[in-house]
């Protein structure tokens, strides 16, 4: 049997997947996001990401691709506002820290660890409450560090996380006069027969 066309197709598919693949960035916590019909693209840089995992733990991440100095600004800012007494080595380590999920009390401990070890650490989550909690200071620091630049605020919540945590996170943003958020969701088609469906059909 001549397998040539079959093999040809197989390699074509292979090439396609190699080209189309974008590797998932390493994520220390697994999040299954809800679905929505939104089509807005996510910002990849100049953004603040607040993650809520399925146990309701909150993590804070600053995304800045080009300017590493932003990380220094953020950590310096929380260091002074919360009197943490971080050493310069610890501050430098923040650049490599993907996400922070501890209260200010334990921050020093986390930053003492090499960045690749932090992944294995079970972080207890940033304390949030109805007044925003520690998260407020992080957002404040990020907002100040990105002053004059565009900054998006993203919230990535797990399907099974509870609403009160989400509300507390929003509260943390509101404390800093941030009222516009991007909720990260997986895409979904508009259900047939609805108004949005008709609209999108018309628009082509």
């Amino acid at each position: 049997m001549d397998m040539t066309p079959f093999v040809d197709v197989a390699f074509l598919i292979l090439t396609f997947f190699i080209m189309a693949t974008k590797f998932k960035p390493p994520e220390p916590v697994e999040i299954t996001t809800p679905k929505s019909v939104s089509t807005t693209e996510l910002p990849e840089s100049n953004a603040v990401l607040v993650t809520i995992d399925k146990e309701g733990k909150v993590y804070f991440t600053v995304l800045s691709e080009k300017n590493q100095g932003i990380f220094d600004d953020v950590i310096n800012s929380v260091n002074t506002s919360r009197n943490l007494g971080l050493t310069s080595a610890e501050k430098l380590n923040y650049r490599k820290t993907y996400m922070v999920g501890v209260g200010f009390g334990q921050l020093k401990q986390v930053l003492d660890m090499p960045a690749d070890k932090q992944k294995d650490l079970k972080q207890p989550g940033i304390p949030v409450d109805t007044t925003g909690g520690d998260l407020t200071y992080w957002i404040q620091a990020a907002k100040a560090a990105f002053a004059g630049q565009s900054l998006k605020y993203m919230i990535k919540g797990d399907n099974s996380s509870k609403y009160p945590v989400f509300k507390d996170v929003i509260e943390g943003f509101k404390k800093n006069d941030v009222y516009k958020y991007n909720l990260i969701t997986s895409p979904e088609d508009a259900p047939a027969g609805t108004e949005l469906y008709t609209q999108r059909r018309k628009a082509g």
Binding site: M3, V7, A10, F11, I13, L14, F17, I18, A20, T21, K22, F23, K24, T33, P34, K35, S36, V37, S38, T39, T40, E41, L42, P43, I52, K152, M154, I155, G157, D158, N159, S160, S161, K162, Y163, P164, V165, F166, K167, I170, F173, K174, D177, Y179, K180, Y181, N182, L183, I184, T185, S186, P187, A190, P191, T194, E195, L196, Y197, Q199
Partner: protein, 203 residues
């Protein structure tokens, strides 16, 4: 491969006893390569994230204590949706009656219908007034754009609601083109009714 006798070098006559050089096959065994190919395909299929995540925009109002700054909603055009535990959805139109008689249960598959019905009702009972031309102007003179002006959906997730359900309801707003909606804290009275209903249905 077929050979043509007496053509080219192959057919060159050699003396007796001279053996023809054994022809090596030019065909390579492709099996291992194909195996590897499929292995890679499988690997990439599994690791690839085909649908990149999308952002859903959410705007929250600034907290204000000043009653004058609050947006007033017409009672006739208001639909309040409450989200409880175990994917429970509850709704009422207008104000919640003291005896809770207009409090109704729904599911995530039926709530869309309720939203659409309520929207239709509101659009039917629409009365033109001075604020309409302004809305028409914003929508390129579309005279139907003012009809649902009074339609407001109030979303009230309670303490047991999941984030998924909250996003789902927010998504319904986009799906059904609800222009005015707000996410508000649930009142103790409403929470009580929701809990009582959940208890009755065995949740």
């Amino acid at each position: 491969m077929s050979q043509i006798e007496g053509g080219g070098d192959e057919g060159h006559k050699k003396g007796p006893g001279v053996k023809k050089a054994k022809k090596l096959s030019t065909r390579v065994d492709m099996t291992p390569m194909v195996d590897l190919g499929f292995l890679l395909i499988t690997f990439f299929i599994f690791t690839t994230t085909m649908s990149s995540p999308k952002a859903m925009n959410l705007n929250m109002p600034k907290d204000t204590k000043n009653q004058d700054e609050l947006n007033k909603a017409k009672e006739s055009g208001a639909l309040t949706i409450m989200i409880g535990k175990d994917n429970g959805v509850y709704y009422y139109e207008g104000q919640l009656l003291p005896d809770g008689s207009n409090f109704k249960s729904a599911t995530f598959s039926t709530i869309r219908e309720e939203i659409i019905n309520k929207k239709k009702d509101v659009m039917k009972s629409h009365v033109h007034d001075g604020s309409c031309p302004e809305i028409w102007a914003k929508n390129n003179g579309d005279k139907t754009s003012c009809l649902d002006r009074d339609f407001v959906v109030v979303i009230k997730p309670d303490q047991d609601a999941t984030y998924k359900n909250t996003v789902d309801i927010l998504d319904e707003m986009t799906i059904n083109n609800v222009k005015r909606y707000a996410m508000v804290d649930i009142t103790p009275q409403e929470y009580q009714v929701v809990q009582a209903t959940e208890k009755n249905s065995g949740k």
